[in-house]
């Protein structure tokens, strides 16, 4: 666990850590696993896939995979698309 990050803070006895979630900085509690993160985002039962630092995490590991400081988290889903939605 990183102790000396400039943004390390205390909230009660829980450490806060920084992750990058879908390209945006976010602070979450230490020891948060993917399932807890998804629950906090109201996304728990959605059809989605999760990548941590460009590694895909299987759904079956969501409850056991604990996030670490500075993790880059991508949560993706399927949307309508053809050959050319580059401009979104």
């Amino acid at each position: 666990m990183s102790q000396s990050n400039k943004n390390t803070a205390f909230l009660g006895k829980t450490h806060i850590m920084n992750i990058v979630l879908n390209g945006q900085d976010k602070q979450i509690d230490d020891d948060t696993n993917i399932e807890q993160l998804l629950t906090s985002l109201d996304l728990n039962n959605k059809r989605l896939a999760v990548e941590i630092n460009q590694e895909i995490i299987p759904r079956s590991d969501f409850a056991t995979f604990t996030l670490s400081e500075s993790d880059k988290v991508e949560i993706v889903q399927a949307i309508g698309g053809g050959s050319c939605d580059h401009k979104n």
């Binding site: 309508g80 050959s83 939605d85």
Partner: protein, 264 residues
Amino acid sequence: MSDTNLDKPLIIAGKTYTSRLLVGTGKYKDNEETRLALDASGAEIITIAIRRTNIGQNPDEPNLLDALPLDKYTLLPNTAGCYTIDDAVRTCKLARELLGGHNLVKLEVLGDEKTLFPDAIQTLKAAQILVDDDFDVMVYTNDDPLIAKELENIGCVAVMPLAAPIGSGLGIRNPYNILTIIENANVPILVDAGVGTASDAAIAMELGCDGILMNTAIAAAQKPILMASAMKKAIEGGREAYLAGRMPKKRFASASSPIEGTFF
């Protein structure tokens, strides 16, 4: 019409399809219009894109996958908007995870924002990586017969040359190249991108291609659901005309009523 029974089914990665129209699900007004247009098109394979989930904003926003009767369709996750091998491969892997082990993907690696032309070199490399990783790859490519054949040799399950730039609606710009690609091929050849209206689709099918993948031509029509129906008919008509074999072109007229027996 018993003659139509002469047609072979479209088989992609071992699965048989009746419809030769594949459609994208982008650019529609809403999920309901998407659903109705897909229904009218008769499509059995539909493309989807993989994008970041909108965090925090509308968690209950209806997801396309929840809005469509998925048992009716084979989903074709698409690497739309990818400009690098890594992005395309990552997108395919995420799609496979998202869809519970689904291996069929559409690969496109774009090279240029203005034309959205595929980057053939990167497309070849990405195709090899995906095939080696057990994906069934339907690949978007230029109308270049040599590249198309190489993509087949790599092991792509279908090769999909463009008719014209994505979203341009310009129709089949290079029918002879498309024809050459078809003649050389041992895998299904589907025209992907550039079809603008029903006649474009019919022309592509008359050339003998195995199917057409389109999105904008339907979604950007004034009446998308009606255009979806028109495309379905054009593709069926074009296919039948291809199977029927057109008459030879002649420069001058040739009477279709007998001259013999005229009383004037």
